[in-house]
Protein backbone atom coordinates (compact mmCIF):
# COMPACT_ATOMS: atom_id res chain seq x y z
CA UNK A 1 0.00 0.00 0.00
CA UNK A 2 2.65 2.40 1.10
CA UNK A 3 4.83 1.39 -1.78
CA UNK A 4 2.04 2.06 -4.28
CA UNK A 5 1.38 5.51 -2.91
CA UNK A 6 5.04 6.37 -3.13
CA UNK A 7 5.21 5.10 -6.67
CA UNK A 8 2.21 7.21 -7.62
CA UNK A 9 3.74 10.27 -6.05
CA UNK A 10 6.98 9.66 -7.92
CA UNK A 11 5.12 9.28 -11.20
CA UNK A 12 3.30 12.57 -10.70
CA UNK A 13 6.61 14.20 -9.89
CA UNK A 14 8.15 12.80 -13.06
CA UNK A 15 5.24 13.94 -15.20
CA UNK A 16 5.25 17.44 -13.70
CA UNK A 17 8.96 17.70 -14.21
CA UNK A 18 8.60 17.07 -17.91
CA UNK A 19 5.55 19.29 -18.19
CA UNK A 20 6.92 22.29 -16.39
CA UNK A 21 10.22 23.48 -17.61
CA UNK A 22 10.64 26.92 -16.11
CA UNK A 23 14.12 27.39 -17.51
CA UNK A 24 14.34 26.43 -21.13
CA UNK A 25 17.96 26.68 -22.17
CA UNK A 26 19.20 29.02 -24.82
CA UNK A 27 18.43 28.00 -28.39
CA UNK A 28 21.32 26.75 -30.49
CA UNK A 29 23.61 29.29 -32.13
CA UNK A 30 27.21 29.78 -33.13
CA UNK A 31 29.33 32.05 -30.96
CA UNK A 32 31.75 34.12 -33.01
CA UNK A 33 34.65 36.13 -31.71
CA UNK A 34 36.62 37.99 -34.35
CA UNK A 35 39.96 39.75 -34.26
CA UNK A 36 39.10 43.11 -35.78
CA UNK A 37 36.25 45.49 -36.54
CA UNK A 38 36.79 44.92 -40.28
CA UNK A 39 36.26 41.19 -39.93
CA UNK A 40 33.25 41.65 -37.66
CA UNK A 41 31.74 44.11 -40.11
CA UNK A 42 32.36 41.75 -43.04
CA UNK A 43 30.80 38.88 -41.09
CA UNK A 44 27.69 40.95 -40.33
CA UNK A 45 27.29 41.91 -43.99
CA UNK A 46 27.69 38.29 -45.07
CA UNK A 47 25.18 37.01 -42.52
CA UNK A 48 22.77 39.96 -42.54
CA UNK A 49 19.59 39.19 -40.64
CA UNK A 50 20.89 36.10 -38.88
CA UNK A 51 23.67 37.56 -36.75
CA UNK A 52 23.41 39.63 -33.60
CA UNK A 53 26.03 41.51 -31.67
CA UNK A 54 26.62 40.72 -28.02
CA UNK A 55 28.30 43.09 -25.62
CA UNK A 56 26.98 42.57 -22.10
CA UNK A 57 24.21 40.22 -23.22
CA UNK A 58 21.91 41.24 -20.38
CA UNK A 59 19.10 41.97 -22.82
CA UNK A 60 20.04 39.67 -25.72
CA UNK A 61 20.21 36.45 -23.66
CA UNK A 62 16.84 37.11 -22.03
CA UNK A 63 15.21 37.73 -25.40
CA UNK A 64 16.84 34.64 -26.87
CA UNK A 65 15.58 32.53 -24.01
CA UNK A 66 12.08 33.89 -24.61
CA UNK A 67 12.53 33.01 -28.30
CA UNK A 68 11.99 36.64 -29.30
CA UNK A 69 15.34 36.61 -31.10
CA UNK A 70 16.63 33.54 -32.90
CA UNK A 71 20.02 34.54 -34.28
CA UNK A 72 22.12 31.84 -35.93
CA UNK A 73 25.28 33.73 -35.00
CA UNK A 74 26.12 35.74 -31.93
CA UNK A 75 29.09 38.00 -32.56
CA UNK A 76 31.05 39.18 -29.53
CA UNK A 77 32.27 42.77 -29.78
CA UNK A 78 34.26 42.69 -26.54
CA UNK A 79 37.93 42.97 -27.37
CA UNK A 80 37.45 44.70 -30.74
CA UNK A 81 39.58 47.81 -31.11
CA UNK A 82 38.18 50.94 -29.51
CA UNK A 83 35.32 49.27 -27.67
CA UNK A 84 37.13 49.23 -24.33
CA UNK A 85 37.88 52.97 -24.16
CA UNK A 86 36.62 55.14 -21.32
CA UNK A 87 38.40 58.45 -21.52
CA UNK A 88 37.74 62.07 -20.65
CA UNK A 89 39.53 64.85 -22.49
CA UNK A 90 39.10 68.35 -21.00
CA UNK A 91 39.04 69.87 -24.50
CA UNK A 92 36.82 67.45 -26.43
CA UNK A 93 34.73 65.58 -23.86
CA UNK A 94 33.96 62.02 -22.91
CA UNK A 95 34.22 58.84 -24.94
CA UNK A 96 32.62 55.58 -23.78
CA UNK A 97 33.42 52.40 -25.70
CA UNK A 98 30.73 49.88 -26.61
CA UNK A 99 32.08 47.21 -24.27
CA UNK A 100 32.51 49.38 -21.17
CA UNK A 101 30.21 48.11 -18.42
CA UNK A 102 28.03 50.65 -16.64
CA UNK A 103 29.79 50.20 -13.31
CA UNK A 104 33.03 51.41 -14.84
CA UNK A 105 31.24 54.51 -16.13
CA UNK A 106 29.58 55.17 -12.77
CA UNK A 107 32.87 54.79 -10.87
CA UNK A 108 34.94 56.98 -13.21
CA UNK A 109 35.95 60.17 -11.34
CA UNK A 110 35.63 62.42 -14.43
CA UNK A 111 32.14 61.11 -15.17
CA UNK A 112 31.13 61.82 -11.58
CA UNK A 113 32.62 65.31 -11.77
CA UNK A 114 31.51 66.45 -15.22
CA UNK A 115 28.59 64.18 -16.14
CA UNK A 116 26.84 63.38 -12.83
CA UNK A 117 23.54 63.02 -14.70
CA UNK A 118 24.95 60.15 -16.75
CA UNK A 119 26.32 58.46 -13.63
CA UNK A 120 22.95 58.83 -11.90
CA UNK A 121 21.05 57.38 -14.86
CA UNK A 122 23.46 54.47 -15.25
CA UNK A 123 23.27 53.76 -11.54
CA UNK A 124 19.49 53.44 -11.75
CA UNK A 125 19.76 50.42 -14.07
CA UNK A 126 18.90 47.10 -12.39
CA UNK A 127 21.43 45.79 -9.85
CA UNK A 128 25.16 46.09 -9.21
CA UNK A 129 25.96 42.67 -10.64
CA UNK A 130 23.91 43.32 -13.77
CA UNK A 131 25.66 46.66 -14.29
CA UNK A 132 28.95 44.78 -14.33
CA UNK A 133 27.82 43.35 -17.68
CA UNK A 134 25.34 45.88 -19.06
CA UNK A 135 26.76 48.64 -21.25
CA UNK A 136 25.50 52.10 -22.18
CA UNK A 137 25.98 51.53 -25.91
CA UNK A 138 24.09 48.24 -25.56
CA UNK A 139 21.27 50.09 -23.84
CA UNK A 140 21.19 52.53 -26.77
CA UNK A 141 21.36 49.89 -29.52
CA UNK A 142 18.50 47.91 -27.99
CA UNK A 143 16.49 51.10 -28.51
CA UNK A 144 13.97 50.17 -25.84
CA UNK A 145 11.82 53.21 -25.08
CA UNK A 146 12.28 52.31 -21.40
CA UNK A 147 16.08 52.52 -21.52
CA UNK A 148 17.26 54.33 -18.40
CA UNK A 149 20.40 55.91 -19.80
CA UNK A 150 18.89 57.08 -23.10
CA UNK A 151 17.43 60.32 -21.71
CA UNK A 152 20.75 61.37 -20.18
CA UNK A 153 22.66 60.43 -23.35
CA UNK A 154 20.24 62.43 -25.52
CA UNK A 155 20.25 65.53 -23.32
CA UNK A 156 24.03 65.52 -22.92
CA UNK A 157 24.36 65.62 -26.71
CA UNK A 158 25.57 62.06 -27.29
CA UNK A 159 27.08 61.26 -30.67
CA UNK A 160 27.64 57.68 -31.84
CA UNK A 161 30.77 56.49 -33.52
CA UNK A 162 29.60 53.90 -36.06
CA UNK A 163 31.89 51.57 -37.98
CA UNK A 164 30.59 50.19 -41.27
CA UNK A 165 31.91 48.69 -44.45
CA UNK A 166 32.53 52.16 -45.87
CA UNK A 167 34.52 53.22 -42.85
CA UNK A 168 33.58 55.29 -39.82
CA UNK A 169 30.68 57.68 -39.52
CA UNK A 170 29.18 59.75 -36.75
CA UNK A 171 25.53 60.06 -35.96
CA UNK A 172 23.78 62.24 -33.41
CA UNK A 173 21.75 60.20 -30.98
CA UNK A 174 18.72 62.42 -31.65
CA UNK A 175 18.23 60.86 -35.10
CA UNK A 176 19.27 57.33 -34.13
CA UNK A 177 16.03 55.91 -32.70
CA UNK A 178 13.36 54.82 -35.19
CA UNK A 179 11.01 52.78 -33.00
CA UNK A 180 11.04 50.10 -30.31
CA UNK A 181 14.12 48.01 -31.10
CA UNK A 182 14.64 49.89 -34.36
CA UNK A 183 17.59 52.14 -35.07
CA UNK A 184 19.12 53.81 -38.08
CA UNK A 185 21.93 51.22 -38.16
CA UNK A 186 22.48 49.70 -41.60
CA UNK A 187 23.39 46.00 -42.05
CA UNK A 188 27.00 45.43 -41.10
CA UNK A 189 27.31 48.56 -39.00
CA UNK A 190 28.69 48.44 -35.47
CA UNK A 191 28.46 51.20 -32.87
CA UNK A 192 31.94 51.31 -31.40
CA UNK A 193 31.51 54.14 -28.91
CA UNK A 194 29.45 57.10 -27.77
CA UNK A 195 30.97 60.55 -27.44
CA UNK A 196 29.78 63.45 -25.35
CA UNK A 197 30.79 67.09 -25.78
CA UNK A 198 31.89 69.05 -22.73
CA UNK A 199 28.88 69.83 -20.52
CA UNK A 200 27.51 73.39 -20.51
CA UNK A 201 28.87 75.70 -17.81
CA UNK A 202 26.90 75.39 -14.57
CA UNK A 203 24.78 72.54 -15.93
CA UNK A 204 22.87 70.23 -13.65
CA UNK A 205 20.31 67.51 -14.11
CA UNK A 206 18.37 64.68 -12.59
CA UNK A 207 16.72 61.42 -13.56
CA UNK A 208 13.48 60.45 -11.84
CA UNK A 209 12.19 56.97 -12.45
CA UNK A 210 9.00 55.28 -11.45
CA UNK A 211 9.27 51.52 -11.04
CA UNK A 212 7.35 48.92 -9.09
CA UNK A 213 9.98 49.22 -6.39
CA UNK A 214 12.33 51.98 -5.33
CA UNK A 215 15.43 50.49 -6.92
CA UNK A 216 16.30 48.08 -9.68
CA UNK A 217 13.06 47.84 -11.68
CA UNK A 218 12.35 48.77 -15.28
CA UNK A 219 10.90 52.24 -15.70
CA UNK A 220 7.12 52.57 -15.91
CA UNK A 221 7.91 56.20 -16.59
CA UNK A 222 11.31 57.88 -16.57
CA UNK A 223 11.92 61.62 -16.67
CA UNK A 224 15.35 63.13 -17.28
CA UNK A 225 15.80 66.88 -16.86
CA UNK A 226 18.93 68.80 -17.77
CA UNK A 227 19.35 72.54 -17.30
CA UNK A 228 22.00 75.22 -17.57
CA UNK A 229 22.21 79.03 -17.45
CA UNK A 230 21.75 80.55 -20.90
CA UNK A 231 21.79 84.35 -21.40
CA UNK A 232 20.07 84.10 -24.78
CA UNK A 233 16.75 83.11 -23.26
CA UNK A 234 14.13 85.25 -21.51
CA UNK A 235 14.31 83.25 -18.29
CA UNK A 236 18.11 83.11 -18.27
CA UNK A 237 18.07 79.32 -18.25
CA UNK A 238 17.62 76.53 -20.72
CA UNK A 239 15.96 73.44 -19.30
CA UNK A 240 15.40 70.33 -21.41
CA UNK A 241 13.34 67.24 -20.69
CA UNK A 242 13.55 63.67 -22.01
CA UNK A 243 10.84 61.10 -21.32
CA UNK A 244 11.26 57.33 -21.21
CA UNK A 245 8.63 54.61 -21.59
CA UNK A 246 5.92 56.90 -22.93
CA UNK A 247 6.30 56.60 -26.71
CA UNK A 248 7.83 54.33 -29.33
CA UNK A 249 11.16 56.12 -28.93
CA UNK A 250 12.65 58.23 -26.15
CA UNK A 251 10.93 61.59 -26.37
CA UNK A 252 12.36 65.10 -26.06
CA UNK A 253 9.36 67.44 -26.24
CA UNK A 254 10.68 70.82 -27.46
CA UNK A 255 7.57 72.58 -26.17
CA UNK A 256 8.74 72.08 -22.57
CA UNK A 257 12.04 73.72 -23.36
CA UNK A 258 10.23 76.63 -25.01
CA UNK A 259 7.88 77.18 -22.06
CA UNK A 260 10.80 77.25 -19.63
CA UNK A 261 13.02 79.51 -21.70
CA UNK A 262 10.46 82.09 -22.84
CA UNK A 263 8.82 82.72 -19.48
CA UNK A 264 10.19 83.64 -16.12
CA UNK A 265 10.50 80.42 -14.17
CA UNK A 266 7.99 80.26 -11.34
CA UNK A 267 5.93 77.50 -9.82
CA UNK A 268 3.22 78.22 -12.38
CA UNK A 269 5.57 77.97 -15.37
CA UNK A 270 6.94 74.72 -14.04
CA UNK A 271 3.39 73.39 -13.76
CA UNK A 272 2.68 74.62 -17.29
CA UNK A 273 5.80 72.85 -18.56
CA UNK A 274 4.78 69.66 -16.75
CA UNK A 275 1.33 69.81 -18.34
CA UNK A 276 2.94 70.39 -21.73
CA UNK A 277 5.14 67.32 -21.33
CA UNK A 278 2.08 65.28 -20.37
CA UNK A 279 0.32 66.43 -23.54
CA UNK A 280 3.39 65.74 -25.65
CA UNK A 281 3.64 62.03 -24.80
CA UNK A 282 1.55 59.17 -26.12
CA UNK A 283 2.10 56.08 -23.95
CA UNK A 284 0.50 52.67 -24.34
CA UNK A 285 -1.30 50.37 -21.90
CA UNK A 286 0.88 47.44 -20.95
CA UNK A 287 1.64 45.08 -18.10
CA UNK A 288 3.60 47.75 -16.24
CA UNK A 289 1.01 50.50 -16.29
CA UNK A 290 -1.95 52.01 -18.13
CA UNK A 291 -1.56 54.88 -20.57
CA UNK A 292 -3.62 57.19 -18.39
CA UNK A 293 -1.56 56.44 -15.27
CA UNK A 294 1.62 56.98 -17.24
CA UNK A 295 0.45 60.37 -18.51
CA UNK A 296 -0.35 61.60 -15.02
CA UNK A 297 2.95 60.28 -13.71
CA UNK A 298 4.80 62.06 -16.52
CA UNK A 299 3.21 65.32 -15.37
CA UNK A 300 4.06 64.76 -11.71
CA UNK A 301 7.58 63.49 -12.24
CA UNK A 302 8.37 66.26 -14.74
CA UNK A 303 7.19 68.86 -12.23
CA UNK A 304 9.28 67.31 -9.45
CA UNK A 305 12.35 66.93 -11.64
CA UNK A 306 12.19 70.49 -13.00
CA UNK A 307 11.65 71.87 -9.50
CA UNK A 308 14.71 69.95 -8.29
CA UNK A 309 16.90 71.10 -11.17
CA UNK A 310 15.62 74.67 -10.88
CA UNK A 311 16.50 74.67 -7.18
CA UNK A 312 20.01 73.48 -7.93
CA UNK A 313 20.47 76.03 -10.70
CA UNK A 314 19.31 78.88 -8.44
CA UNK A 315 21.54 77.92 -5.51
CA UNK A 316 24.47 77.61 -7.90
CA UNK A 317 23.96 81.07 -9.40
CA UNK A 318 23.64 82.56 -5.91
CA UNK A 319 26.85 80.87 -4.83
CA UNK A 320 28.47 82.00 -8.07
CA UNK A 321 27.42 85.61 -7.41
CA UNK A 322 28.84 85.46 -3.90
CA UNK A 323 32.09 84.11 -5.23
CA UNK A 324 32.26 86.99 -7.70
CA UNK A 325 31.85 89.58 -4.99
Amino acid sequence: MLYRRQARRYNTYKRKKTMLNPHPGLPEFTYVKLASLDEACGFLVEHAGEARLISGGTDLLVRMRDKAFKPAYVVDIKGLEGTDVLAFDPSSGLKIGAAVPMNRVVAHPDVQKHYPLLAQAAKSVASYQLRNRATIVGNICNASPAGDTLGACLLLGGRLNIYGKDGERFEDLVTFFKGPGKTSLQPGEIVTSINFPLPEKGATGTYLKLGRNKLSDLAIVGVTVYGFPDKMTESGFRIKVALASVAATPLMPPVVETVLSENEITEDTIQEAANASMDACFPIDDVRGSARYRKEMVRNLTRNAITEVWGQLQSRTENGLEANR
Binding site: E28, A72, S216
Partner: protein, 155 residues
Amino acid sequence: MISYHQITLKVNGETEVVNVPANMTLLVMLREEMGLTGVKNGCAAGECGACTVLMNGEPVNSCMVLAAECDGAEVITVEGLSHNGQLIKLQEMLIAKGGVQCGFCTPGMLISAFALLKRNPDPSENEIREALVGNLCRCTGYVRIIDAVKASVEK
Protein backbone atom coordinates in the same frame (compact mmCIF):
# COMPACT_ATOMS: atom_id res chain seq x y z
CA MET B 1 24.17 25.03 -36.04
CA ILE B 2 25.91 25.03 -32.72
CA SER B 3 29.57 25.74 -32.12
CA TYR B 4 31.83 24.28 -29.42
CA HIS B 5 34.61 26.20 -27.75
CA GLN B 6 37.54 25.09 -25.71
CA ILE B 7 38.05 27.52 -22.89
CA THR B 8 40.60 27.78 -20.11
CA LEU B 9 39.52 29.44 -16.91
CA LYS B 10 40.33 29.52 -13.24
CA VAL B 11 37.54 28.35 -10.97
CA ASN B 12 38.07 28.77 -7.23
CA GLY B 13 41.81 28.90 -7.78
CA GLU B 14 42.10 25.82 -9.98
CA THR B 15 42.73 26.02 -13.69
CA GLU B 16 40.16 24.13 -15.74
CA VAL B 17 39.99 23.38 -19.43
CA VAL B 18 36.47 22.69 -20.68
CA ASN B 19 34.78 22.20 -24.00
CA VAL B 20 31.50 24.08 -23.97
CA PRO B 21 28.69 24.53 -26.49
CA ALA B 22 27.95 28.11 -27.49
CA ASN B 23 24.54 28.18 -25.82
CA MET B 24 25.83 27.06 -22.42
CA THR B 25 25.79 29.76 -19.77
CA LEU B 26 28.44 30.10 -17.09
CA LEU B 27 25.77 29.04 -14.60
CA VAL B 28 25.07 25.72 -16.33
CA MET B 29 28.77 25.08 -16.82
CA LEU B 30 29.55 25.60 -13.13
CA ARG B 31 26.65 23.46 -11.95
CA GLU B 32 26.61 20.66 -14.46
CA GLU B 33 30.17 20.40 -15.74
CA MET B 34 31.98 21.18 -12.51
CA GLY B 35 29.42 20.12 -9.93
CA LEU B 36 29.54 23.47 -8.12
CA THR B 37 25.88 23.42 -7.12
CA GLY B 38 26.32 26.28 -4.66
CA VAL B 39 25.55 28.47 -7.66
CA LYS B 40 21.75 28.46 -7.86
CA ASN B 41 19.49 28.73 -10.87
CA GLY B 42 16.67 31.07 -9.85
CA CYS B 43 15.05 33.16 -12.57
CA ALA B 44 17.65 32.69 -15.31
CA ALA B 45 16.94 36.25 -16.42
CA GLY B 46 19.25 38.41 -14.32
CA GLU B 47 16.62 39.43 -11.78
CA CYS B 48 17.07 37.32 -8.67
CA GLY B 49 20.83 37.14 -8.14
CA ALA B 50 20.87 33.54 -6.86
CA CYS B 51 23.46 32.68 -9.52
CA THR B 52 25.86 35.52 -8.60
CA VAL B 53 29.54 34.60 -8.87
CA LEU B 54 32.72 36.66 -8.88
CA MET B 55 34.15 36.97 -12.38
CA ASN B 56 37.54 38.68 -12.46
CA GLY B 57 36.82 40.03 -8.99
CA GLU B 58 33.45 41.61 -9.79
CA PRO B 59 30.04 40.05 -9.10
CA VAL B 60 28.03 39.05 -12.17
CA ASN B 61 24.84 37.09 -12.77
CA SER B 62 26.26 33.84 -14.14
CA CYS B 63 22.99 33.11 -15.97
CA MET B 64 23.70 36.18 -18.10
CA VAL B 65 27.22 35.18 -19.13
CA LEU B 66 27.98 32.70 -21.89
CA ALA B 67 30.55 30.11 -20.88
CA ALA B 68 32.34 30.76 -24.18
CA GLU B 69 32.87 34.38 -23.10
CA CYS B 70 34.80 33.27 -20.01
CA ASP B 71 37.99 32.22 -21.73
CA GLY B 72 40.83 33.37 -19.49
CA ALA B 73 38.52 34.57 -16.74
CA GLU B 74 38.87 33.95 -13.04
CA VAL B 75 35.67 32.77 -11.39
CA ILE B 76 34.98 32.40 -7.68
CA THR B 77 31.81 30.73 -6.46
CA VAL B 78 30.49 30.42 -2.92
CA GLU B 79 32.49 27.19 -2.59
CA GLY B 80 35.65 29.24 -3.04
CA LEU B 81 34.96 31.67 -0.19
CA SER B 82 35.83 29.32 2.66
CA HIS B 83 39.25 27.73 3.03
CA ASN B 84 39.67 24.15 4.27
CA GLY B 85 36.19 24.15 5.74
CA GLN B 86 36.90 27.34 7.67
CA LEU B 87 34.04 29.77 7.05
CA ILE B 88 34.76 33.46 6.55
CA LYS B 89 33.37 35.92 9.07
CA LEU B 90 30.57 36.96 6.74
CA GLN B 91 29.32 33.39 6.53
CA GLU B 92 29.55 32.88 10.29
CA MET B 93 27.65 36.09 10.94
CA LEU B 94 24.96 35.15 8.43
CA ILE B 95 24.38 31.93 10.38
CA ALA B 96 24.59 33.63 13.78
CA LYS B 97 22.12 36.39 12.86
CA GLY B 98 19.59 34.01 11.30
CA GLY B 99 20.14 35.29 7.79
CA VAL B 100 19.88 31.77 6.36
CA GLN B 101 16.45 30.23 6.21
CA CYS B 102 15.70 28.17 3.14
CA GLY B 103 19.20 29.01 1.92
CA PHE B 104 18.49 29.36 -1.78
CA CYS B 105 19.53 33.01 -2.00
CA THR B 106 22.43 32.59 0.45
CA PRO B 107 25.25 31.83 -2.06
CA GLY B 108 24.34 34.87 -4.16
CA MET B 109 23.95 37.07 -1.08
CA LEU B 110 27.37 35.97 0.19
CA ILE B 111 29.08 36.74 -3.11
CA SER B 112 27.40 40.15 -3.45
CA ALA B 113 28.20 41.06 0.16
CA PHE B 114 31.75 39.74 -0.17
CA ALA B 115 32.29 41.90 -3.26
CA LEU B 116 30.83 44.92 -1.45
CA LEU B 117 33.16 44.48 1.52
CA LYS B 118 36.10 44.12 -0.83
CA ARG B 119 35.46 47.44 -2.58
CA ASN B 120 34.14 49.20 0.51
CA PRO B 121 35.37 47.74 3.83
CA ASP B 122 33.10 49.96 5.92
CA PRO B 123 29.72 50.28 4.18
CA SER B 124 26.76 52.20 5.57
CA GLU B 125 23.38 50.49 5.82
CA ASN B 126 22.23 52.23 2.64
CA GLU B 127 25.30 51.05 0.76
CA ILE B 128 24.65 47.48 1.90
CA ARG B 129 21.05 47.73 0.73
CA GLU B 130 22.12 49.15 -2.62
CA ALA B 131 24.70 46.40 -3.12
CA LEU B 132 22.19 43.65 -2.33
CA VAL B 133 19.41 45.08 -4.48
CA GLY B 134 19.95 42.41 -7.10
CA ASN B 135 19.59 39.52 -4.65
CA LEU B 136 16.05 38.49 -3.88
CA CYS B 137 15.21 36.64 -0.67
CA ARG B 138 11.70 35.42 0.06
CA CYS B 139 12.29 34.19 3.62
CA THR B 140 14.22 36.53 5.85
CA GLY B 141 12.76 39.91 4.94
CA TYR B 142 16.38 41.06 4.40
CA VAL B 143 16.76 42.66 7.83
CA ARG B 144 18.77 39.76 9.27
CA ILE B 145 20.97 39.57 6.21
CA ILE B 146 21.77 43.28 6.43
CA ASP B 147 22.42 42.88 10.18
CA ALA B 148 24.81 40.04 9.39
CA VAL B 149 26.78 42.13 6.90
CA LYS B 150 26.96 44.97 9.43
CA ALA B 151 28.07 42.58 12.18
CA SER B 152 30.80 41.09 10.02
CA VAL B 153 32.29 44.58 9.63
CA GLU B 154 32.00 45.60 13.28
CA LYS B 155 33.97 42.91 15.06
